[in-house]
Subunit: 368 residues, 2 copies
Amino acid sequence: MMKLSARTVHTSRYPVLIGEGALDQFRKELKQYRKQKSKLFILTDANTLRFCLPELLSFIPELEAATKLNIDGGEEMKSLRTAEYLWKELVSQQADRNSLLINLGGGVVTDLGGYVASAFHRGIDTIHIPTSLISQIDAAIGSKTGVNVDMLKNQVGSFFAPHGVFVWPGFLSTLPSEQVRSGLAEVAKTALIRDEQFWRWLSRKRVKQILEIPFTDSFWKDLLLKTIRIKLEIVRHDPFERNIRKLLNFGHTIGHAIESLALRRETPVLHGEAVAAGMVCEGFLSVGQAGLDPHELDGVREWILDGFGKLPLLQEDESVRIDMMRHDKKNREQEIRFTLLSRIGQGRINQVCAAEQISEAFGKYYTL
Amino acid sequence: MMKLSARTVHTSRYPVLIGEGALDQFRKELKQYRKQKSKLFILTDANTLRFCLPELLSFIPELEAATKLNIDGGEEMKSLRTAEYLWKELVSQQADRNSLLINLGGGVVTDLGGYVASAFHRGIDTIHIPTSLISQIDAAIGSKTGVNVDMLKNQVGSFFAPHGVFVWPGFLSTLPSEQVRSGLAEVAKTALIRDEQFWRWLSRKRVKQILEIPFTDSFWKDLLLKTIRIKLEIVRHDPFERNIRKLLNFGHTIGHAIESLALRRETPVLHGEAVAAGMVCEGFLSVGQAGLDPHELDGVREWILDGFGKLPLLQEDESVRIDMMRHDKKNREQEIRFTLLSRIGQGRINQVCAAEQISEAFGKYYTL
């Protein structure tokens, strides 16, 4: 018997541009892409087609010539069916391996578009221009792509680095205020797991006050920069989520279960709303399990509840909810694992909690 | 504006075991997997379920406990629909990120199973146990996965390294002889593009004679080893097919077009038959375009025609066929690019041929 060894080393590197000048920079780089690339495609959803594409084209009239791909809006579009539709469109529009797909939109568009690009001809170049706060700081950062299967989130996807990410705060003004608020839950999470100072800076203002700050104010650029920098640092150390990348899941084990249930019932909640509720519940778990000081939790909980209110949490479905957590990709062998806080600015991964503890945390949340 | 930089380095390395002892070695490694992995799945098609799985289980009774996934046989199963079926099966069987998928079958099973594993939860470990000659030397080697879209081959897929590949020549005895012969076309191609000595060694015997050699004879181990070694060497230098990996496409630009057309008409040809015809046609192009000595071509052509006969080549569909080549993933900007031979043992990539040259090559083939 003979043993041969196969080996591949793959390095991906891409720039993330943040701030007022991001689209100008994109315009400059586009000159190169247009020389190198056989064909340009822009993916939008119904909202970004209407509100963001005209803005983008006014900055970069050269993009008029790109082929437009458009899908309806909403989480339910993040499906294999939509991916298949886009692959067939790419085939019929004669996309080839040297085509470029530009994703203009929120997390659904960048997750879906990233996945479509990663698998079309085994990977074509893609650029994210995230337009929602949540995609600017999270979905479009870190090379994860994915679609839902049977309403279970991101069951199918890939790790696939884009060619570049261009984060222009101006797009935030196209969003309803509750969408920006939803993104703030992820910002808070990022601070809570990794950077106490950032949390102090953020929580100095109430959510309502933050939402009144104009997007041209340097506050937003600072917020984007602080959040994205932490995410990139974590991802660089653990791109495939084997260890510390799991830090980012604080609030998400319960948050995802809430979202999946809400999707099934066709009463979707915003991701950030689910994560906000998840962080409060997982905050209770953190006190019991990871040593978080209950007084510290009080401050976090108050800021979240003041900003996000309380979610009905689909109270009657508790067993289903716990069952869905078992389906979460992060879990092994039917255990339910959480990322909890040992203190503000310090997350702790792989914390196993029993179903009773989880029920107790829900109970505390209901009676707040 | 701020510019941050994202960077990921990913190294994958896996063993390829070849020969009589390959399954014994797999059994040893399986002990480790069973400790580390939450759940084992085995994917088969109708043929390997019947002819190969019992053989595998007789070597490795521990695998009885693995969850069996089964699909029908045939190229038309290499579809998004089948991938979706398998993802849903994995979800409902409670596969998690730590599950292992073992693909037992020919190129359809390893391409499809590899793709399903690469995208399920953004990538679970997978092992290939290729059972056809073509998958043992080609499909399962080199980390390409894929499914067809609208009958166009491998439009969707990924580069995804398996955890290991176990090549046991004994499975070849489960195949109809024309399937083994089909694999010999890929063996010949590998020799022709890279290793003149290997070509001389191989072509010393007629195809018919080779097919009479028992699979326990060291001839087969040598053939497998020589072919796999060349493929791994090429892939190591160019995993993502940016340059020299295209060498492997000799005979395939025309071969793929023949296959796609045949699929559409529901009169499928074997991959190797299509590649054999493709090599002869692209041999004519090689003489005109890449300086191949016509006397050298004579020897190649005779060996191929003696072994594979002549394919009807779907003569009347020439314009469709040329159009389909334009869709081939390897082509840029609607040019048709070939890998041709400058001499035996030396391929040359990125050779552009005009439609008239291609027609002329078909013409020569028809009139052979």
